[in-house]
Amino acid sequence: MSEAAAVLTPSTGWVLLAVFGVLWVALGMYWGRKAKDLEGFMLAGRNVGLALGTATAMATWVTSNTVMLAPKFALQMGIWGMLAYSTASFGLFLFAPMAQRIRRLMPRGFTSGDFIRLRYGRPAWAVFLIISFVYSMAWLVSMGMAGGIVLEALSGIDYRFGMSVILLVCVVYTLFGGLYAVIGTDFIQSLVILAGIVIVGAVVLSRIDLAAIHGNLVAEQPALLAVAMPVALLSLFNNMFFGFGEVFHNNVWWSRAFAMNRGVAHKAFGLAGLLWFPIPVAAGFIGLCAGPLGINVPDPDMVGPLVAGKVLGGAGAVVVFVVVFCSLASSIDSLLAATSDLLTEDVYRKALRPKSSQAHLRRVSSWVIVGLGIATWALCMPRLGDLIQVLFLSGPLVASAIWPVVGGLYWRRAGGGAALAAMLAGSAAGLTAYFSLGWFTASLISAAVSAVVMGLGTATSRADFDWSALDESALEAAVETGAPAGSRGAATR
């Protein structure tokens, strides 16, 4: 979309960016004062309550992709498209009991990488870290790009400047406040996102009623209302498994499980799933209004902001602008913090400098956040590809980690060899499907192949894992006091 077609003026866009940018940085720095040590910075003191825990899980999962791709799914795949996006919430529901178990098995754990290393050994750990890093960067880049594109479309701010400012704001407040800043700002961002979506939806419905939308779709685009739509149904299951893979493996969610108060984790993730489920429908249905309202949509990625801007005018564009900014910030900050934790804890501390002090690791973590911000910015600058490609290319990779994570948490017989083979075979099959069949099959096939490999490997395994081996702090204490290592039960693989 050109600057001339923007609903807001660039100066309005800059004012909104400045107001919310300063607000997030100020709040982040204020809450960040509580982050006095490494554990405070990385895990917000491990005592986050239900309100902030629920809000941070929900807000992190509401990305700019939710706000922009849900209307696109509706525009292209109708009702099933919106529902397909909503199934991503199932990942949060299913992670709820897992979060509780993670909290119990690993009371002093830091990252999802810690779990894979202790549970399956180093080869599987290395593959897992690569998958996790590729996915996290794909997510970060897709959001950085989305931010620049939406800001340009809504206000005419040049893509490069808008994208750069959003990344800069997120890097600064995450850098100063760590997870305290991330979780605190997530709460306010949750409220803004929910209010904005309800306001836009209500105003759109006040301008055109559902009978008119339905009647127009029946006459002009009946496929969008079709009960049986094979591609949409495939995408529904694909999206669901992609969501499982994203949530189960990524340190964004594990770090929240570690950060929440012990009795809160399962409730917070369950509630977050409930709160998230209606959002793709509430935000997405305006995509169905494009045809009935006679709005020409040159770029499907932009259908949401386009309809909101046309129907609501400047005020609607301001609301969409703010909602998108909050959606972006709530996810980018979480990804910066969680990926930095993974690189600091798993790569730097565990693989390179095991004897680093807490203060040193705190500094390393800060530098990693800055480095991630710069890398994301550099990858966003060329503005390559379409949003859904960036996002879904990582789908088969993360879907291959679903069963290794689930098996590792619940099956004593699950072993490192099976987990490694499951991730490799699932990723290879899923990527092949992505390029030969289509994105809407990739995660599904990856998860299926990974399930077969993991299932066969576990069924034929003689391993009998001792869960206490996951409590690394107890293991380290035992080593320091000279207790026999075998008493903690070394991992059997």
Binding site: G45, I79, M82, L205, A226
Partner: protein
């Protein structure tokens, strides 16, 4: 002829989603008030 979702289904879906989203915001505020009262924010 392909079966189509009726208008009522679309209405339930859309109005339900908007109502649930609004209720979600209220729920978060109530939870925050409870956590503030019990000093269990973080």
């Amino acid at each position: 002829m392909t079966a189509l979702f009726p208008q009522g289904f679309l209405a339930v879906l859309v109005y339900g989603a908007l109502t649930a989203s609004g209720a979600g915001g209220v729920l978060l505020l109530l939870l925050l008030a409870r956590d503030l009262k019990n000093r269990r924010i973080w």
